[in-house]
């Protein structure tokens, strides 16, 4: 009698695959010998749809790719269109965009922290703590944009409308709550010995590997590479704020967790500075054409999304629609390293590693 490897199908309906993602694990006992990821269950043709819409209509589809960091996607798309049409965004609109993007990053990372706990086996406690904090931020988003998930609030050139009068005060009220909530999660997870033993030394990715896999965002920084598009390819007005870029030392799951915790703190810092500097003024340029028509051009614009570099590659052949719109989604690129990180670990680690990549399936499949 010989021992046989078992193929286990994890997903597409599995509580810890973070959506409709499927991995076929080949396991020997509890050890993962091979992983075969299957994607595409959530493909909705967002790129093609965007090519059928004019520049304004396509905004709604940008939200739906990375549905946890929607403002960043809108930002990347709007920046691409603005570059194409050579539009100058008013100061106030830039500040509001930065504030909302950073709040969005906080909300997205809270989602990660909550789900990370679940992946490690928390019975929903970390998840509810994360969601509680998301809720405060989401309330602000709802008051500003009217929507809770698909904001479609940014427009090429600025914003669709101005923020409400009490916006600054509302955000200032929420930031301490986020700090408090982060501290709760911090105490619940960071120091916990079980979290430590479960996530340290698991799914290690060296700096060289991380670069050659094309990782970005917290994964890349956890691997020890100082790379943050906000600093290294400055866009918008990020050069006006002081913040730190957390860089990990080991490149394992625990470092990815720590990097995200620290990024929440830094985002809070950025929001505070932006609130202090928030100027008055218009939120759309004076002369906005009613119909957006672009010249023939190729544009690439990228933002530092919550999961990494979210880029829009836009080819225009004139007219009011893009000829080609390609989304460079961080989740997809980060996910490609899954197999490398998982092989040789245990089944339970595979879940933790997948969680640490923090994929959003809408972003992977588009």
């Amino acid at each position: 009698m010989e021992t046989v490897d078992i193929n286990v199908n994890m997903g597409p309906q599995h509580p810890s695959t973070h959506g409709v993602f499927r991995m076929v694990l080949t396991i020997d006992g509890e050890r993962v010998m091979d992983v075969e990821p299957h994607i595409g269950y959530m493909h909705r043709g967002a790129e093609k749809l965007s090519e059928e819409m004019d520049y304004r209509q396509a905004i709604g589809y940008q939200d739906r790719t990375d549905y946890l960091a929607q403002f960043m996607n809108e930002q990347a798309y709007c920046m691409a269109v603005e570059k194409l049409l050579d539009i100058e965004v008013p100061e106030r609109a830039e500040y509001i965009r930065v504030i909302l993007c950073e709040l969005n990053r906080i909300a997205s990372h809270f989602m990660f922290l909550g789900a990370f706990g679940i992946d490690l086996g928390h019975f929903g406690t970390s998840f509810t703590y994360g969601f509680r904090e998301r809720e405060h931020i989401q309330d602000i988003f709802e008051e500003v944009t009217g929507e809770r998930l698909m904001y479609s609030y940014f427009r090429p050139g600025g914003l669709v409308w101005d923020v409400p009068d009490n916006f600054v005060q509302r955000v200032r009220d929420v930031l301490p709550k986020s700090r408090q909530g982060l501290q709760d999660l911090d105490m619940l997870l960071t120091g916990n010995e079980i979290v430590s033993v479960r996530s340290r030394g698991v799914g290690v990715m060296s700096a060289e590997d991380a670069v050659s896999w094309g990782l970005s965002g917290p994964l890349l920084r956890a691997a020890g590479v100082e790379w943050d598009l906000r600093r290294d390819k400055p866009y918008s007005i990020y050069d006006r704020f002081q913040y730190d870029i957390p860089v990990g030392t080991h490149g394992d799951v625990y470092d990815r967790y720590l990097v995200r915790v620290e990024e929440v703190r830094q985002s809070i810092r950025i929001v505070e500075q932006a609130l202090d500097q928030l100027p008055d003024g218009p939120i759309m340029p004076e002369k906005m054409p009613r119909k957006l028509r672009g010249p023939e051009a190729e544009i690439y614009s990228a933002v530092e999304g919550a999961r990494g570099e979210y880029g829009i590659y836009l080819v225009s052949k004139g007219g009011d629609k893009p000829y080609r719109l390609k989304m460079r989604s961080p989740s997809f690129c980060n996910l490609s390293a899954l197999r490398d990180m998982t092989i040789g670990n245990y089944v339970a680690d595979a879940v933790a590693i997948l969680g640490s990549i923090d994929i959003v399936l809408g972003c992977v499949d588009r």
Partner: protein, 383 residues
């Protein structure tokens, strides 16, 4: 006495029937109440409301759920092994049920006072793994098989430290009879004398109950319920009932062996109802502790559980036994038990702490845009 062999037939059947009825009522009512309680506790820990719909504060929610589960179709996968699949829930259930027989609730209340009560409970509850393995194998599902095997691996790991920690206690008391153990604690409960053994017992009980840090066989985020994955309706609810019965059994056992049962601190002369209240209160304390831990902890990995049990708990349990042996053989005064055991616990905590924290993690913080002015107001606004 194990079995009253001298009774008349009529009497003993009636006796057994009454005992059985008492256990069934206690078990079902207890499990229903505990499921409600656990949902409420978890809700409060997670700042939710929990069940609110059925009855005042959702008190009847589990009753409604039970009715629903009973009414559900009893499904069996086509490729499942019929007999093993259908018998597995009962094999899990019976040990939990039988363990109840040996537990005294007060000085006078028990289905049977057994001389070897403690040993009986440990031996019998250990059998439930067979049901997990059967369920896991018969479901013809890889998650279930993984879960079943994990259950078996977990059993061989935690069963030994649990038995050893209880042996440490029986060394001091000199009896395996639960009533004797409780009566011995008339002055001071045993968790004072034996903190190390108490700690080991709690950890091993968590593993036996498959609760949070050790819910590896049923791990929701990995094997999606493990052996239970293919079960539905009444068979699934039997698994559930068994798990909550086990919770009651182990909490009662802990309350009797370590917390002084019905005796401490009111003494032997307390009225019957006070005794019941004391047992109940101490059991509730342990149940709430188990629930609290469940919602505060993530899960260990199976190899980590095994290395923790084999490399930490078993040596510690042997240390406890050795220390007790020293005290008993040389006839040192009682407080040395506390001193040695407490020192052992502290030492163990220190060693675990050191090994886990041997490698403190700090991130490298790279300031971006150091030139940009950070207004002083920003700092004060946040804090």
């Amino acid at each position: 006495m194990m079995l009253a062999l001298t009774y008349d037939v009529g009497n003993i059947w009636l006796d057994s029937l009454l005992g059985l009825l008492a256990i069934i009522v206690l078990m079902t009512v207890g499990a229903l109440a505990l499921i409600w309680l656990e949902r409420k506790v978890s809700a409060r820990i997670q700042m939710r409301l929990g069940p609110m719909r059925v009855g005042p504060y959702g008190l009847l929610q589990t009753l409604a759920d039970a009715v629903k589960l009973v009414g559900k179709e009893d499904m069996r996968p086509r490729s499942a092994d019929r007999w093993v699949f259908e018998l597995a829930p009962f094999v899990v259930f019976v040990p939990a049920f039988v363990a109840f027989v040996a537990i005294p609730f007060t000085r006078d209340w028990a289905v049977a006072f057994l001389d070897l009560g403690l040993f009986f409970i440990v031996a019998v509850t250990g059998l439930s793994f067979v049901g997990f393995l059967m369920a896991g194998w018969a479901s013809d599902n890889k998650y279930a098989l993984l879960g079943g095997l994990r259950a078996a691996a977990q059993l061989i790991s935690y069963e030994i430290p649990m038995v050893l920690s209880l042996i440490a206690v029986t060394m001091i008391v000199g009896s395996l009879n639960l009533s004797d153990i409780v009566i011995y604690q008339g002055r001071v409960p045993l968790f004072v004398w034996q903190p190390l053994a108490f700690f080991i017992f709690i950890v091993a009980a968590l593993a036996e109950l498959e609760r949070q840090p050790f819910d590896i066989p049923t791990a929701e985020s990995e094997v999606v319920g493990g052996p239970f994955i293919e079960y539905s309706g009444i068979r699934w609810s039997i698994f559930y009932l068994a798990s909550y019965t086990n919770l009651i059994v182990y909490s009662l056992l802990g309350a009797l062996v370590f917390l002084g049962g019905w005796d401490w601190p009111l003494g032997r002369e307390a009225g019957l109802w006070l005794q019941v209240l004391l047992t109940f209160g101490k059991t509730m304390f342990l149940i709430l502790l188990f629930m609290w831990v469940r919602f505060a902890m993530p899960r260990l990995r199976i190899d980590q559980l095994m290395s923790y049990c084999w490399k930490v708990l078993i040596p510690l349990a042997f240390l406890q036994i050795f220390l007790n042996g020293l005290v008993l053989v040389y006839g040192w005064p009682d407080f040395t038990l506390l001193l040695t055991s407490g020192a052992g616990l502290l030492l163990a905590g220190y060693i675990v702490d050191r090994t886990v924290r041997a490698d403190p993690r700090t991130l490298r913080m790279v300031p971006a845009n150091p030139g940009a002015a950070e207004p002083a107001a920003a700092d004060s606004a946040g804090s």
